[in-house]
Structure formats: C-alpha cells, structure tokens
Symmetry: C2
Subunit: 75 residues, 2 copies
C-alpha cells in the first residue's frame, strides 16, 4: 500500500478520488484507516463512503472488498 494514491483502491476512480482528496483522504492508507476505525463493517463503511464522496453501491462495495482483502492478507 505504501504511499499509493486513494485511486489505487478498487471502486475509486478519478472523480471519487478527487472528492476524497478534498476531504483529506488523499492516500489509500488514510482510507484504510477509516475502514479500520469502522471495525471493517461493510454496511457502516459503504454508508460513510457514499456520504463523503457520492460513491454508488457497487463502487462502495468494491472499495470495501479491496480493503478487506488487504487486511485479511497482510494484517
């Protein structure tokens, strides 16, 4: 993950990425922090992501799955 931009996360394209950057989530690891803080809960995380950057349901789910897979593999 390192210092990769937030757009390296599945579901986060240029448009959502720019909105997340404005909100301070410029790096993938910052978004991952929010995912951990919400205790990896899919429903809570997807609702939060839709609210903060206007993600649709598929984008939010893809993003959650990507972060969850990273956690399962490396933590």
């Amino acid at each position: 993950m390192g210092e990769k931009p937030v757009t390296a996360v599945a579901g986060i394209g240029d448009t959502l990425g720019k909105r997340l950057e404005v909100e301070g989530f410029d790096r993938a690891y910052v978004l991952f922090g929010q995912f951990l803080l919400l205790k990896t809960d899919q429903e809570l995380f997807c609702a939060w992501l839709k609210d903060i950057c206007g993600a649709n349901s598929k984008q939010a789910k893809d993003c959650h799955t990507c972060l969850a897979e990273w956690k399962d593999q490396f933590m």
Copy 2:
C-alpha cells in the same frame, strides 16, 4: 496484528487499555486505524491519545512509535 487486543501495543497497559475499550478501541487494529486517519502525525496522535485515555507523554510516544514501526515494516 490480526485480532490482538489494544494492550498488545507498546505504551498501552491494562488501565489505558480499559479506557480505550470503553471508547470502542478494543483491538490494536482499531487504534492503528486512528493512527492512519491522523496521517501518522506524531503530535496529533499523541495529543489525541492523551485526550481519549489519559496517556502520559512517554506512553503516547511509545504507542506512536510502535504503530509507526508496524506501518513502516508491513505497509
């Protein structure tokens, strides 16, 4: 890190651990989420930790160092 309790993090003993649990930070990974969300900033993280559980300066710094080392090594 897995599902280790928050007391597995350096600087967090039983007393601080119990206070953090009450605030929802029961696992090391949830505290790590907060650390990432604050963009790994030492000053911000230590101030937050002192505020939320009454950590002293040494405890807060030990905790920050522990989380920063994990990130450097595995992310």
